[in-house]
Amino acid sequence: MNQNLTRRQLLAMVGAAGGATAIYQTGMAMGVMADTGAVARLDLKNVGASKKNVVVLGAGLSGLAVAYELERAGYDVSIIEASHRVGGRSLTLRSGDIVDEMGNRQVCEFDDHPEMFFNAGPARIPGHHRRVLNYCKELKVPLIIKGNFARNAWMQDNDHFDGKPVRVGHYVADARGFLSELLYKAIDLNRFDQPLSAEDRERLLQFATTFGDLRPGGSYAGSSRAGYDEGGFLRPAVSREPKSFEALLNSNFWRRMFDGSERPDWGDPLMEVDGGMDGIVKAFVREIASPIRTNAQVQSINLTSSGVDVVYNYKGAPQKISADYCFNCIPTHFMPGIPNNLPKDYREGLAALIPGNFMKIGLQMKKRFWEEEGIFGGATNTTQPINAIWYPSHGIHGDKGVVLGAYVLFDRVKEWDRLSPKERIRLAGECGDRIHEGYSGYIESGVSIPWGRMNHMMGCGTQWTDDVRERYFKLLQQPAGGRHFMIGDQISYHSSWQEGAFASAENALLELDQRVRAESSQTGMG
C-alpha cells in the first residue's frame, strides 16, 4: 500500500474542511429564529389589563432578564432568590463582599478602590454573544476590551524547558515554524503517486513559507514573530532562538494553546464590563420595579389547574405565591431536593444533569509587576494546578491590580475544594512563583471561589451527556404543564456563559408569548 498522500487525497481533504465549515454555517442558519448573528429584540405582546402574574425563581441573569422583559410587557412579576445577593454566578467581588462558601465563609479584603475588583463568575464577552451585547447596549452598560490571548504572556510547564516560562508568542512562532517546515519538505520531496502540478506545488510552498516564516529553502530558523531577545529600536533586532521541536512537541502546551485561543468564545478581542461584570446585574436591578426578595428559599413548586403555586421561606415564615406562570433558574441539581409535582419525565431530565465545577482565585497584587514584563491583559497558561493567570486589562499603570490567580475546571477542582481559603492562596502563590519572580510576595489579599462549594450554587457549568441531551433537552426547553419554564445557562448549549442564560430566557419568553397570543386570539381579546 502506498503510504504517500495522493494529490487527489490532499485536495479532497481541503475540500472536506471547507465543506464542514459550510455545513456548520448552514446548520446555524436553519433554526427557526436566529441563534447566532444578529438577534432581534424581543417584542412580547403586552398583556395589559389581563394582569397575568409570574413568579421568577432565582435572581440569576436569566431570571433578571425574564423579569425585565415581562415587566415591560405588562406582567405582574415577583422574584424569589435564595441567597443573600442578586446576580447568581455573575459575581464581582470588591472590598468587604462576602464569599458565601459552604463551611468556609470569607470576606473579600481587597482595597476599597474602583479598580480593585474580581469577576469570580463570567469575565469575558465575545463579539458573537449578541444577546449579552444587546442588553449592554440597551441598558447602557459600558464595555471595554479584555485581552485574553497575549503574545507577551507565558506558557509554563514544570516538566519542560527546565520549568521556565516561555513567551506565548515565542511558542506560537516556533510551533508554526516547525509545522511549516515539515509541510515544506513533504511538498518539496513531491513523492505523490500523481505529482502535484507546478502551480499547486508553488502555491503550497509559498503558503508554508508564509505560515511559518520560513527561510528560503524551507527551513525554520527562528522568526521575529517570536519576539526579540535584544534590539529592534536603536540596534538591529535579534530574534529569540527557536526552541527544539522535540521539546515543543513534548511540552503539551499545544493542547491548550491552539484550542484556547482559536475558539470563537475565547478569540480576541473579547470584552468585559467597565468596572466589573456585575454592571449587567446592576443595570437590570435598576430597571426592574418588581420586588426582588433575597434570602427567600423555595420550599415547594406545584402545578395547579390554572398556574403554579410556589411556597418559600422569607423572614422566618412560609409565604405562598400563586402565579399564572413560573420561570425557574434554580440550579437543576437542587430540584430533586425541592418537593414538586412536575411531570415524571421532566423531573428525571432535571435529575440527569450533572453539576459541573469551576474555581477561580482573585489576588490583589501590591504592584503591577507583569506590566514590567510587557504584559498588559491576557493570560498565562501553566500545567500547574492553577491552570492560568489572567492579567487585568483595566487600571493599566495603576499602583496595584487584581489578577486571576487560578482558574481550575471540573475534576481538578477537588484538590482545591479540600484546602482552606488561606491554603488555596498560599498554593496559588507558590505556583505563581514558578512563572513570575517574587509573585507570592506581591500578594496582599486573595479570595477563592469554588463554585461547587458556593452556597445556593453547588456547581457551575452543567454537564449534559450526549444521551441526556438527546432525551431531555427539548423537553426541558418546553414549559412543564404549559406553566413552569426551566431557564438559565443550564438549559442551553452554552452552559456557564451569560449568553446561554439570555438565550434560554429568550427561548422561554418566546414560548410564553406564543401561548399568550394564541389564548388572546381565542378569547377575542387583544
Binding site: 459552604m102 428559599q297 415564615a317 430533586p336 431536593g337 453539576p355 452556597n455
Partner: protein, 205 residues
Amino acid sequence: MMRRLSVCTAILLISTMAAAEEPIIPADEFVYCTVCHGVQLMGNEVLGAPRISGMDSYYVERQLRSFKEGWRGTHAQDATGREMHPMASALTDGQIGEAAAFVEATRSEAPVSTVIGDKAAGEMFYGTCSACHGTAGEGNRELNGPPLAGRNDWYLVRQLQNFRDGVRGTHPQDVYGQQMAAAMMILSDDAAINDVVAYIVSLDL
C-alpha cells in the same frame, strides 16, 4: 402556623414534634443544611446528600462531632464525606446540638427505593443487624444503633461499602463506627449489601 427554630424552641420541639407535621423553618445558620440535603432534609441523590429528616438527634450530634473531629469524612475515597467535613467543622459545640435538634424536627415523605436486591436473602442477613438496629430498622438507643428505616437506600449502600472498604469506621476515636466496620464481616460483597438494603427499605416504620 409554622415556626422558626431557635435554640429554645428546638428543645421544646423535640418533645412535641412527634405529633406535629408542620415543616420547620431552619434558623439562618442551618439553611446551609437544606442546600444539599433538600427541603426539610428530604435528601438529594444528585448531590449525594442523604435524607436525614427526623433522624435521632443523639445520632446526628455524634456524626456531626465525628465529621468535625475528622473521624469521618476525611478518607481520600469518601468524596461526599469530605464535602460534609468542612460544614461540621464550621459549627461550634452549641451549634451542633441545635443542628441536631433541627434535623430531628424535620419531616419529609419516605424516600423512593432505587436499589435492586433480593429481599429474602437480605432478611437472612438482617437477622444479625437487627440486634442493634431493631427488627423493624427502628434503631436501638441503648446499643447505639441508629434507625435505618427511612434512609435513602443508595445512601445505605454507600455507607455499608464505606464500612467494608475501610473508608468509614477506622478512626480509633470512632468507637461506634469501628463496631459497625467489624460487623461488616457478614456482608462482604456488593450483592449481599444490595440484598440487605433492599430488605431494610421494605421495612415500614
